[in-house]
């Protein structure tokens, strides 16, 4: 009799642990560095609304890719581009059909000095600066967009010797904000707060000058059975998260 009861109790416990929505779960998320601030804001809301907990790891997309391919325990990946998630998808490292664009980045020419950059970006044509910072165009989508913009303006050759590259968009911003480079191409989200440029001066590069910087997310194979992973990606598509993303200077 006692033994039977114990068995029933065990069965109940196991069933409880396995049933998808009855318990809150943790989800390990690899996040591209440019999305650090909005993700923290979204995670706070997500945790309030669903009870699931987000455990984020921030890094450069290429680095995170290498880590995922080598067994890192990430369940959701928020990339800074669309090609890296596509590669993971092809390699069978993700849950099929889970990939979607969660944010579209905007490129801005920025200087820490107020009034330094005019609204048309004509400052690029004048020879008044020594260094123009950007992210490494081979590694970072914002760097690629910066290169495309210079090509579109016909300035690639003329400015070639003035370009200094940061390994990430964060480093490009650092070069400009410390004044080591007078100006640089950065992500709008880095210098945007409460609906306006937070300091210095900037030129918002027109969309037509560069290929859209689509940032894709997907659920990785390790997150296939974690309800919190699915819940987070659904949440990112929802109106609350989208409003937060927009407020940080992304197009949607």
């Amino acid at each position: 009799m006692f033994r039977h009861r114990l068995k029933a109790l065990c069965a109940l416990l196991v069933a409880g642990a396995l049933s998808p929505n009855s318990f809150a779960a943790d989800v390990n998320v690899a996040v591209a560095a440019n999305f650090t601030a909005p993700l923290k804001a979204i995670a706070a809301e997500f945790e309030k609304d669903t009870g699931h907990r987000v455990i984020p790891a921030f890094g450069a997309t290429g680095q995170l890719f290498a880590q995922i391919n080598n067994g890192a325990p990430f369940e959701v990946f928020l990339s800074a581009d669309d090609s890296t998630p596509a590669k993971l998808e092809q390699a069978g490292n993700s849950v099929p059909g889970s990939r979607f664009t969660y944010a579209t980045g905007a490129l801005v020419l920025w200087s820490a000095k107020p009034g330094y950059i005019d609204e048309q970006g004509a400052v690029l044509r004048q020879n008044g600066f020594k260094h123009l910072a950007m992210a490494n165009p081979k590694a970072a989508p914002y760097g690629r967009a910066a290169t495309q913009t210079l090509e579109k303006l016909g300035l690639s050759t003329r400015l070639k010797d003035k370009i200094v590259e940061g390994q990430s968009i964060t480093q490009a911003l650092q070069f400009v904000s410390t004044g080591n480079a007078e100006l640089g191409f950065v992500a709008l989200s880095q210098v945007y707060k409460d609906g306006k440029i937070s300091s210095g001066s900037a030129w918002l590069v027109p969309d037509a000058y560069y290929q859209p910087i689509e940032q894709d997310a997907l659920i990785l194979s390790k997150g296939a059975n974690n309800p919190a992973a699915k819940a987070l990606t659904d949440y990112l598509k929802g109106p609350k998260a989208q409003a937060i993303i927009k407020s940080y200077g992304y197009k949607i």
Binding site: F65, A133, N136, A139, I163, E165, Q167, Q171, N180, A181
Partner: protein, 227 residues
């Protein structure tokens, strides 16, 4: 060989940077090490600690402060600009300055140990023979401290070759000017060019092993002579 022109120029640049840094460090480090070895001043410990800082600080910290100090708003930056040299970040000169800071303990500490192990006796003997202090230093101290100079040069050179964080922070990844091997490896890994990354990274591994092997072999050979 799958190495690109940028890779080859990165290798050349790295060797140039390491050689120049080593020479400068021997010039700067020798007087510092000599003073540290001989002084009884209360400043000995604070100065020794400052010299050793790069051993424990992450290179990103040194790079970050250099970025600010060498920049247009920093003290060094304002000095270099008023001297007409301009801002030194994103230049080879800037990398040399950064490397000198970064590799300082690797040169000073072996020299200091070598000077300390000489002791007072040879110096007093030289003094009784009326050798001037400078003469003593060049004809007595330097020959006796030779193993220390060899160790210091090898470590200073090798450590500069392996430098990454500082260059990353103040370099700007400019081919032929600030793009050294370690940064180039990082570039290749970031852009998923693993074959090129392997060639350079494997080369670094081999180089470091050979350097350390040479260092330890030279110590072994000297041991009988030293004791």
């Amino acid at each position: 060989m799958p190495l690109s022109n940028d890779d080859l120029s990165a290798i050349w640049l790295t060797l140039e940077l390491a050689s120049l840094t080593t020479v400068l460090l021997l010039l700067i480090g020798t007087p510092i090490a000599w003073w540290l070895a001989r002084t009884d001043s209360w400043l000995k410990r604070p100065v020794g600690a400052v010299v050793a800082l790069p051993l424990v600080l992450p290179p990103t910290v040194i790079g970050f402060y250099l970025l600010i100090a060498l920049g247009p708003n920093g003290y060094i930056g304002q000095l270099t600009e008023s001297l007409g040299w301009g801002i030194l970040t994103f230049s080879f000169t800037g990398l040399v300055i950064g490397s000198v800071f970064y590799s300082l303990p690797f040169v000073v500490q072996p020299l200091q140990n070598a000077f300390e192990s000489i002791g007072n006796a040879p110096l007093e003997a030289a003094a009784t023979l009326r050798a001037s202090k400078l003469d003593t230093f060049f004809s007595v101290v330097i020959p006796l401290a030779r193993p220390g100079f060899i160790t210091a040069s090898i470590l200073g050179f090798a450590h500069t070759v392996g430098e990454f964080g500082v260059v990353l922070m103040i370099g700007g990844n400019i081919p032929g000017k600030t793009q050294v091997v370690s940064v180039q490896i990082y570039n290749h890994v970031e852009t998923l060019q693993y074959t090129q990354a392997h060639w350079l990274a494997g080369g670094m591994l081999l180089f470091s092993f050979v350097v350390l092997l040479a260092l330890y072999s030279s110590r072994q050979a000297k041991q009988g002579w030293q004791s």
